[in-house]
Amino acid sequence: MTSLLDQTRFSESIYKPTMARIVDINDLTALDRLFTVELPDGVYLDHQPGQFVKVSVLGVGEAPISISSSPSRTRQTFELAIRKVGDLTGVLHDLQAGAMVGIRGPFGQGFPMDRFKGKNLLFIAGGCGIAPLRSLINQVLDDRGSYGHMQILYGSRSAADLMFKDELHEWENREDVELLLSMEKADIDWPACTTGYVTHLFPQIELDPRNTIAVIIGPPVMYKPTIAQVRNKGIIEGNIWLSFERRMKCGVGKCGHCQINHIYVCRQGPAFQYQHVKDLQEAM
């Protein structure tokens, strides 16, 4: 068995994708679909939560997509939650189960799970930021004993935009998870749902700032106000983690598109410790 990364790295070209089969497609929202992808025999995806793969449709193009499934669950199949926003994602949404897609990766730095062990975790997702965060959440749930208290704040536009509703219910029903939702239009019957942005949830949570790690993933506009709230709770910069999205062509630190100042998001990120990026003007 080889890992996909080795397959990518040691294939004759780092740009050559491994062809993998889409085995299942499920609607998440009107714009988002969950693709379950199966690697060819003998290849497994050995990823960290927070890492991404480059997904391609031959003849259309390639895009970076976060791995949404947890490494603790499967090795030969993995899940990608993809939003239809443009060219490639539009074509991906038209595919049927059974179609082949190209995969390279996994690339980038994920979240350092070892450093999170024993800590309380505050997960904050905005919009489709829940897709990469889900990988992390499920990883923690599968090894629940190794981590402390777990809080999930998820901000969404409306009920129709909520992704992974079944799992949300599961998390909601667990004793050891505290899940809070915010919606700009709170049109759903949910035990803990607040009207507004994800930042409006902070007054409702209690946490121990010295022992809590915060992980924030969402659209560009969300970072500054959310970090302010997290800092407000007393969490130090070194305990705040983020993930960034940028335009990326190569995924391997060459093409220059994802650069934030001197940093290549595809190599040093997409997961970053806040203190390493807070002074970069182009970061947020």
């Binding site: 790295r9 294939s11 004759e12 070209s13 780092i14 740009y15 050559k16 994708p17 062809m19 391609s56 031959l58 003849g59 259309v60 193009g61 390639e62 939003r83 926003v85 443009g86 994602t89 082949m100 190209g102 659209p219 560009p220 999205e245 940028r246 335009r247 062509k249 190569c250 391997v252 630190g253 060459k254 093409c255 220059g256 598109h257 650069q259 934030i260 100042n261 001197h262 190599r267 003007q281 182009e282």
Partner: protein, 352 residues
């Protein structure tokens, strides 16, 4: 290092003919008052005494357009494509040799880019020592690139009047003489003459930078919030010519091209430019470097600092190409000197 060779100029055309038998030979050619690297048929086509070529010889290592993979759309065949053409690049200026050294570092760092490596493996680089500057825009001496870096060339030519003194950089460089008998091994007096030629050249190379090159990374780090970027942005056309002609710019785009019957296609890499509006645009319409000021800053920060952080080499080699190309006269010399002037002024302003 292998002892150098002496090639009488009279034997030079014969050597080119000899090389043509096994290689595609390219080099600087005069073209409508400019110099352009292109294929050489005979030694007559070469103009070794030239001012900077429009596009640097990087085009032989990172072509403007290059097929990375070819495939059938149904996924049954996916094949990586590599350069296989054995090429000799003649007459690479010393600044461009430095630039190639930088590209070598970039494309081997982290993940090795095998397509670059294939070009590099098949391309033999013959440097050419500059004995005069390349016209008003170049500033190689200021950037420390007016002499050849050892690791970038296979052979390096120094014009000594009636002969060429040829330094050997690699074995495959030396092998270009295997089977050719018009060349001699350099002797003591040849070395002495060569040293004389080299030490004479410096008087013809002025310093143009007001700050020492080793201070450039710090200067730029401190200039991140300078107003100067906006001043450059006011005149910048965002045409991207500066990055296209730069020997150390390598950013690229990758696109798929499909034949009209939708059966076969290829994934193609082509040069891109951080000066173009859409370079950092992402889905949803968010542009991470929307203003021309941010883009000009990024360009100069890359040259002066980011590439230095990544490779230990300053990313500008002082060739002056971008200055020649830019229609509104944005130049590294003027920019670096202006940033320096402001940096020097600042403490006084604070005091006053």
């Amino acid at each position: 290092m292998q002892p150098a060779k002496i090639l009488p100029k009279s034997a030079f055309p014969g050597w080119i003919d000899f090389l043509k038998r096994s290689y595609t030979v390219v080099g600087p050619k005069a073209m409508h008052g400019q110099t352009v690297f292109g294929e050489i048929e005979t030694a007559d086509d070469l103009t070794l005494e030239y001012n900077q070529s429009v596009i640097p010889p990087k085009k032989y290592l990172v072509p403007q357009r290059e097929v990375l993979i070819e495939y059938k759309l149904d996924g049954t065949e996916v094949e990586a494509k590599f350069n296989e053409e054995a090429t000799v690049v003649f007459g690479v200026h010393t600044c461009d040799l430095h630039a190639i050294k930088l590209l070598d570092l970039i494309f081997s760092k982290g993940f090795t880019d095998q397509h670059y490596a294939a070009h590099r493996d098949n391309t033999i680089i013959i440097g050419y020592e500059c004995l005069t500057t390349c016209g008003p825009e170049s500033f190689c001496r200021s950037m420390g690139t007016a002499s050849a870096p050892e690791s970038a060339y296979d052979l390096h030519i120094i014009d000594m009047g009636s002969d060429y003194f040829i330094q050997i950089g690699t074995e495959r460089g030396e092998a270009l003489f295997t089977g050719y008998d018009g060349v001699f091994t350099a002797t003591e007096p040849d070395y002495a003459r060569m040293n004389g030629t080299l030490s004479d050249k410096w008087q013809r190379f002025p310093y143009r930078l007001d700050v020492d090159v080793t201070e450039i990374p710090d200067l730029l780090a401190e200039s991140y919030h300078s107003d100067h970027w906006q001043e450059l942005a006011d005149i910048c056309l965002a045409c991207g010519m500066c990055t296209q002609v730069c020997p150390t710019c390598y950013c690229f785009d990758i696109r798929d091209e499909v034949d009209v019957t939708l059966s076969v296609g290829k994934r193609v890499r082509s040069w891109d430019s951080c000066q173009i509006d859409s370079f950092a645009l992402v889905a949803g319409g968010h542009n991470f470097r929307e203003t021309r000021a941010a883009r000009q800053r990024h360009r100069f920060m890359r040259k002066g600092k980011y590439q230095f952080d990544a490779t230990g080499m300053v990313g500008c080699v002082g060739c002056g190409r971008c200055a020649t190309a830019c229609l509104v006269d944005i130049t590294p010399i003027k920019t670096f000197n202006e940033l320096y002037r402001r940096q020097q002024q600042q403490p006084e302003e604070v005091e006053a």
